[in-house]
Symmetry: C2
Subunit: 318 residues, 2 copies
């Protein structure tokens, strides 16, 4: 049972604002706090804007823009919260002491969730008196529209807290992905950070402009990633033999300098994990069925994109 | 002027089939060749399938499934072609000698394009008598639906050939991205290869399954990549200050172990390139306008995905 009624958002930058908008749109009472001058007026303006968008996306029954309260004092802001979502700058020492402070002021049964993009929950919870209720709940921008939230516990987090948090985020229309092994960057940000660093190298080495890098994603591989991740994408590029064929065909390319990232050794064990993983994912579906689904999606997606792409049209160069 | 009338596709694997389907759907006469036993019958079956999909996507006036001819003999297959698209296995020595052979048999004015995912055109053209008409034209699977094609010349390729090729691919509804500096993996595959290697590490290290990696893309960052590449995405995550703010906020994370890929030094020069690149890309548009466009797209995309996602629903786990 989801017993979370009141939510407090600590830190009202882009991610904090996104959380506030999502919580409000799902009918929750939200208290927001931020020590910055003008934080309240900037928050109100940003929420007004997001609220217009949420009107188009659809809001829950009973949801109201008026269920938001700004409280500059941290202690008072977290006192009644059932879940506190922390969005401080991405520096371990800042988050660590802030979480310890939140932990002191919050109700004993409240869940404390950090939005950190990549820091380890075991470190973030280390100074808390009740570390067992501290987790990472990492969202994606814009938080009020993107469903993924990565949930990661630290070494002191108890399973029940992760379970309650997963239920709660699921109830606000999110897709909670519980990650059992904590690692810097969790999962999605490791993938994004790899692409980001490679993109920076390309610009740094004078191979492409930021615009060309973006075009190389948007008109190509980016079209498939809303439907299929890197594994399923390649599974479908391998013909009827799927990933097995791809590993034979592109396995040797892992040794080539096609990125600045060094690949793992393609051992039999890794091959088996990848191939059986893909087969497990696609279970009842043949490659042919999945290709058809992909193609139908791509046709509809490109019709939709006709309305949006021109502004990203390399200023007319493509 | 586009003077290309007849196209020959060498190699009828997944990518070759994709090219055949795209060329046919745009009204071209296509000759296909492949030395494998049963290549013709496998090709015919695959084209029949793609043709059904292309019926939904829309085909050009005058296009016909019957304009396809299989010719097992390479010399005869390329003799009358204005453009030859090569799709041999991804091994330099194979492609190099095959391209030299094609070069010997083709009309002097024909363009020879290799679909290589990552090999360098300067090396691929090295054994040709007329290397000036050899280029890389790298497509994405499924070729008959994804518009991006990366065009890269080698050191002997002349500009007029790249220009004619760009016109031709543009005329068949593709988005040709001309890359001026050849590099292993071109641009898009460098980004994909970085994500792919990081994903393999995650599976290899036991952090996530293939299914979890895919979910971490599909429900999160993957939703944005059909509209915006990595630079524009971050530009919009930085609030009104855009990329400038993001580099301040996440610059220090470049030193953290958030991926196995080592980042470049974030010099003032690189910062300036990235910030001015993003400003150039978005010129007449304010961040607010672009956020609105992104949000409208995300709302429509997720409505569209409701039809497709359940099958990728972590077998009910999410």
């Amino acid at each position: 049972m989801n017993t979370i009624k009141q939510v407090t958002v600590v830190g009202t930058g882009v991610i904090g604002i996104g959380w506030i908008a999502r919580f409000l749109s799902q009918g929750y009472d939200v208290v927001a706090t931020d020590p910055a001058p003008n934080a309240q007026s900037r928050m109100e303006a940003a929420i007004d804007k997001a609220w217009l968008t949420l009107g188009k996306a659809g809001i829950a029954e009973g949801a109201s823009r008026d269920k938001l309260k700004f409280e500059p004092n941290l202690k008072r802001a977290v006192a009644d919260a059932d879940l506190i979502q922390e969005n401080a700058p991405e520096r371990e020492e800042i988050k660590r002491s802030l979480l310890a402070e939140i932990d002191r002021y919050a109700k004993p049964e409240a869940i404390i969730a950090s939005s950190t993009s990549g820091l380890l929950p075991s470190k973030l919870q280390a100074d808390c008196e009740r570390p067992e209720r501290v987790i990472v709940a990492h969202p994606f921008n814009p938080v009020y529209l993107i469903p993924l939230v990565e949930l990661v516990g630290g070494k002191d987090t108890i399973f029940e807290v992760i379970e309650s948090a997963a239920q709660f985020y699921h109830s606000i229309n999110m897709k909670p992905l519980v990650i059992s092994n904590e690692i810097e960057g969790h999962v999605a940000d490791r993938l994004m950070e790899a692409i980001w660093r490679e993109a920076l190298h390309l610009v740094n080495d004078g191979v492409a402009t930021t615009e060309e890098v973006d075009a190389a994603i948007v008109y190509g591989p980016g079209l498939r990633w809303a439907l299929m991740g890197p594994f399923l994408t390649l599974h479908l590029a391998g013909g009827e033999q799927g990933m097995k064929h791809m590993l034979e065909q592109f396995g040797p390319a892992l040794k080539l300098p096609w990125t600045k990232l060094v690949a793992p050794e393609l051992t039999e064990e890794l091959k088996n994990k990848v191939i059986s993983g893909c087969e497990q994912q696609t279970k009842e579906h043949t490659i042919s069925e999945l290709e058809l689904r992909r193609d139908d999606f791509l046709i509809e997606l490109q019709k939709l994109l006709e309305k949006y792409w021109p502004a990203a049209n390399l200023n007319g160069k493509l």
